[in-house]
Amino acid sequence: MLWGIKNMFDLQFLYLVGCLTLTVGLALDMGPNQNMEFTFMLPTGGTECFYQTTTTGDSMEIEYQVIAGSGLDVGFALISPSGHRVVSEFRTSDGIHMLDYTEFGDYRLCFDNSFSKMSEKMVFFKVIINSEGNTSGGQEEWMDFTVTESMEDYRIEEIRRTMDSVYRHLEKTRQVQTVLRAFEARDRYLLEDNLWRVSFWSCLNLLVMLGVAVTQTYTLRRLFDNTKRVCT
C-alpha cells in the first residue's frame, strides 16, 4: 500500500511538472514550428510595423508579397532586437529572407508605402519560426493526454517517425499553397483592374472620337457661315 501511495504522488508530481513546463513553454513561445501569415492593407503614404518575439538560436523565415496596388511595390525593413538593420529593401514586389540564428528579443518587420502618394497596397507576409531542437508537430506533449498504447514496440517508433515526416511535408505543402494563393490573388487583382481600365478607356475613346468629329464639322460650317456673312 505504501508503494501504491508513493506511485500516486510520483504521478501527480510528474503531471504537475508537465503542466508547468507546458505553461512556461506556451508563455515563452517555445514550441513547435510557428507559422503566422497575414494579409493587410497598407494605407497610402503609411508604414506598418509588426513585431515577432524569438529566442536565441531559432531560425526565422520571412516571405512577403505585394498583392494589390498600383506599382505593386513596397519598402521592407527587418530590424533585429539590438537595433541592427538586417534587411533593407526599397520598392520591391516580393521577397524571401532566411535568418539562421535569431537573437533573443523582438524582431521588427516594417512595410513602407511612404513613397506612394496615390495608392494603398495590399501586402501578404508570413513568418515561420523553426525552434531549435523541436521540429516535430508539438506532439511530444500528446503523450500526457492520450490513452497509452497497448503494445510498445520498436515498430511503433518507426511509424511515429514516418508520421512525423509526413506531417512536416504536409505543413510544407500548406505553406506552398499559401504562397501560390497569394500569387494568384495578385494576378487576379491585376486582371480585374485591366478589365475596368479597358472598359473605361474604350468608352472615353469613343466619346472623344465622336466629339471631335462633330466639333470638326460644325467648326468648318461656322467658318463658311462667317465668310458668307463677310462676303455679303
Binding site: G31, T39, F40, V127, G137, Q139, V147, T148, Y167, R181
Partner: protein
Amino acid sequence: MMRSVPAAAVTILLAWIYPSCGLYFHIGETEKKCFIEEIPDETMVIGKYRTQLWDKQAGSFLPSTPGLGMHVEIKDPDTKIILSRQYGSEGRFTFTSHTPGEHQICLHSNSTKMALFAGGKLRVHLEIQVGEHTNNYPEIAAKDKLTELQLRVRQLLDQVEQIQKEQSYQRYREERFRMTSESTNQRVLWWSIAQTFILIVTGIWQMRHLKSFFEAKKLV
C-alpha cells in the same frame, strides 16, 4: 487517465485564450487594423488576441488592462458583416466561412477616453488559425479516447482534408480568373471593332454632310 484530465484542462484553458505566437503590432486610439483571410468554404477560423497598454510610469507595457476592449468586425466576401462584437482586453473570436473568398477581420479599440492612450500605444498580440490548425488535439484525444498514433493519424487526415479544400478553392478561383480574362479579351475585341466601325461611319457622315453643305452654299 488520471493524469490526462487535469493536464488537458489546463492546456485547453491556456490554449483557449493565450495566443502562443509572438507576433504583435501597435495600434492607435481610433485606428482600425484590418486583416484579410482568403479561405475556402466551410472552414473554421479562430482568432486570439491579447492587449497591453504602455505605462509611462513603469516605462513598459502592462500585462493587461481590464476595461479596455477591442471591437472585432468580420466581413464575408460579399461585404456582409458576419461578426461584430466587443471583447475584453483578451479575447478569442471564431467563425466558420460559408462562402469561399476573402474575409476581412477588422480590429479597433473601443476606448473613448483619450487619457488611456496618453502614451499613444496599445500593443496587440494576434494569432489567427485557419482550418485544421484550429483543432484542439488534446481535447479530441480526451473525447474520443485515442492513442497517440491514432491521434497523429487523425491530424494527418485533417491536414490532407484541408489541402484538398484549398485545392478545390484554387480551382474555383482559377475558373473565375479565366472568365475575367475571357471577358477582357472579348471586350477588347468588340470595342476595337465598334470603334473602327464608328470611325468609318463618322468619316462618311462628315464628308457627306460637308459636301451637301458646300453644294447648298454654291461653293462647289
